[in-house]
Amino acid sequence: MKNIKRILSLVLALCLVLVLFAGCGENTSGDKETAKGKVYFLNFKPEQSQQWEDIASRYSESTGVDVTVVTAASDTYESTLKSEIAKTEAPTLFQVNGPVGLASWKDYCYDLSNTSLYKNLASDDFVLKGDNGEALAIAYVIETYGLIYNKSLLNDYINTEGALITSANEINNFETLKAVAEDIQSKKDTLGIKGAFTSAGMDSSSDWRFKTHLANLPVYYEYKDENITSTDKIKGTYLENYKNIWDLYINNSTTEPSLLSSKTGSDASSEFALKEAVFYQNGTWAYDDIKGYEVSDDDLGMLPIYIGADGEEKQGLCTGSENYWCVNKNAKQADIDATLAFLDWLITSDEGKKALSEELKFVTPFTTFTEEFTVDNPLVKAANDYIKQDKIPVAWTFTTMPSEEWKNGVGSALLEYAQGTGDWSGVQTAFVDGWEREYKAVNSK
């Protein structure tokens, strides 16, 4: 009798535990779906989460395959991926931002060499390869950045007395850009604008435009001189040019340099969209933020970012990718197959191609995207024009920058220089010494 009581109470206590933990358990879905495989895409771009979800649900409806899209909040992709991929239901499809990003995730990447994704690529430049030549990550969107400018405001300037140029085409080197920008700044009241450049905000929503994208140019020219594609030590040959363009940005803008630390990305885009500034350094993706306000599509143009390097008259815009798809190698084979089928559908079926080019407005590196799948974006057109004029595009070397920490160091130093609490030697240290230190720290085992 005593034993029965004891066992009974133990069973009751365990039941209580079960009830307590029932809430933690995940709903195990039916076997039918598991047989078919599931797709779980961890999306990087919060501004396009809705579009991705729509596309996923349409695909699920027509094929019956479950596609889950989860979007990481802005600036938290790496941390979200880190915690998601440790789960049993891990993402089957995720992305890395380039060689440096791949380094931390290469053990999770499925070899994509035998997939239609790889076979339809226009060039091997868009693949990140592993040590044995396996295709671990494939770029799915090509983007371009430069100095977006407002054609009608620039024309207003050209029509003022003593304008230094007669057409935007004459701006083909740093000297001219500087002279024009400074002249525009001095005539800003006549032109009814607040400054030549939009605010060079150093809030985290905007500082990547300078610590990463603008810093790409000195790195690119140094790589070009040295004939290398990455390095463990940067010399900083073009730092003087970096300083010149940064000075130009901060001294001829809508904002006083001492206020830059709190200026955000949307501050800059709204300044441009509301015709308060002529030049705005950003890329093709910025079109969504500036369309529909006061600048009409016909007035949007893009200039290369000139920093005063030799032969820059031939320089084009900065074109590359920092969005590479990876398939999770550790997922179930059925899920991997389902994911590959989903990707195949995206880039080969008409419906999928339409979704990428019309809804997401992606310029892709895949040969399956023929004429009718071109993107309706005036900035992309401007970018294509440069390629037609045989200008040499600037590669995205910033994907080889040693780490986020390096970028942050350069960003902070740029800000301190701008607001006068530091001097340029701080940027030099962060750029040159920081590179060597970070490269060592990240690559030491």
Binding site: S9, A13, K82, S104, S258, S261, S412, T421
Partner: protein
């Protein structure tokens, strides 16, 4: 009866004990283990020994965060407790509208740290705009910004604790002091303050650990800018773990050191303030 309870106590403890083990003990031990590993996600850890701990002490930003946090904690503990006690003292004098004031002072505590951080960022930047500066212009602004924010948030809560302490003092003690001819300041210094020492213990403990572990407010107000000069320990650990590829283990090691620090400081503080508590 007692014997039965004793006999069955393991059974009653079992559910909560299991929950405690799963929710606290296991992650804690796993966390300590991970601080000796190199890993990308918590499931693929490789043991590397103490190299993570070596990296922690060669990281200048961690050392700076440690001093910044220590300085902030001292400043915050002193200001919050002095202000909270003063307000509590005034609000137990029986003025009209005491209840209204108590409610108003307590209200900031009901708002989350992130929201508060962004609201105060707007306020500070709005004021500093007149001087063509921003909150993240220099670390000094950030420091005082954080201090004001924390005072605004915590004073109300500590005030409630002090009010409870002051009201708990038996009227007969106060009366005796008055009859003995003690002046107001004498009553305050010789009667009230010694009698509320238990409240001081609690309040100092709460403010100390809160300031030391401060995260949300730090993240929302300055995010460590400029150049990590206002980055406190918790934020530094977070940034190391999530912001730097290959530094997850180092972040974990920092977290272990952080735990030891907080535990030691809190225990020391409890020991010293307990000693000053008196019985009436």
């Amino acid at each position: 009866m007692n014997r039965t309870i004793k006999k069955y106590s393991p059974i009653f403890v079992l559910p909560t004990l299991l929950a405690f083990i799963i929710g606290f003990i296991v992650p804690f031990i796993l966390g300590i283990y991970l601080s000796f590993c190199k890993f990308t996600t918590v499931t693929d850890a490789k043991f590397t020994g103490i190299s993570n701990y070596q990296k922690v002490f060669s990281d200048d930003s961690f050392i700076h965060a440690l001093w910044f946090t220590a300085l902030f904690t001292v400043a915050a503990v002193v200001t919050i407790n002095v202000i909270a006690f003063t307000i509590a003292y005034l609000l137990t004098k029986g003025f009209k509208g005491t209840n209204l004031f108590r409610t108003v002072f307590f209200m900031p505590n009901l708002i989350g740290g992130i929201v508060l951080g962004y609201i105060w960022q707007l306020i500070f930047n709005g004021i500093l705009l007149y001087f063509a500066k921003t909150l993240t212009f220099s670390a000094t602004y950030g420091f005082f910004g954080l201090l004001i924010l924390m005072n605004w948030q915590q004073v109300g809560y500590m005030m409630i604790i002090y009010i409870a302490g002051i009201q708990n003092i038996s009227p007969s003690v106060m009366e005796a002091a008055k009859i003995d001819g003690a002046s107001r300041s004498q009553i305050l210094r010789k009667v009230i303050i010694p009698m509320v020492m238990p409240s001081v213990t609690i309040s100092v403990f709460l403010t100390l650990t809160n300031s030391f572990k401060l995260f949300d407010q730090n993240l929302a107000l300055t995010a460590g800018e400029p150049s990590k000069m206002t980055e406190m320990l918790a934020l530094n650990i977070f940034n190391t773990f999530y912001g730097r590829t290959g530094f997850e283990g180092v972040g974990q090691a920092k977290a272990v050191i952080f735990f030891v620090l907080v535990a030691v400081i809190a225990l020391l503080q409890l020991y010293y303030t307990r000693k000053r508590e008196v019985q009436a």
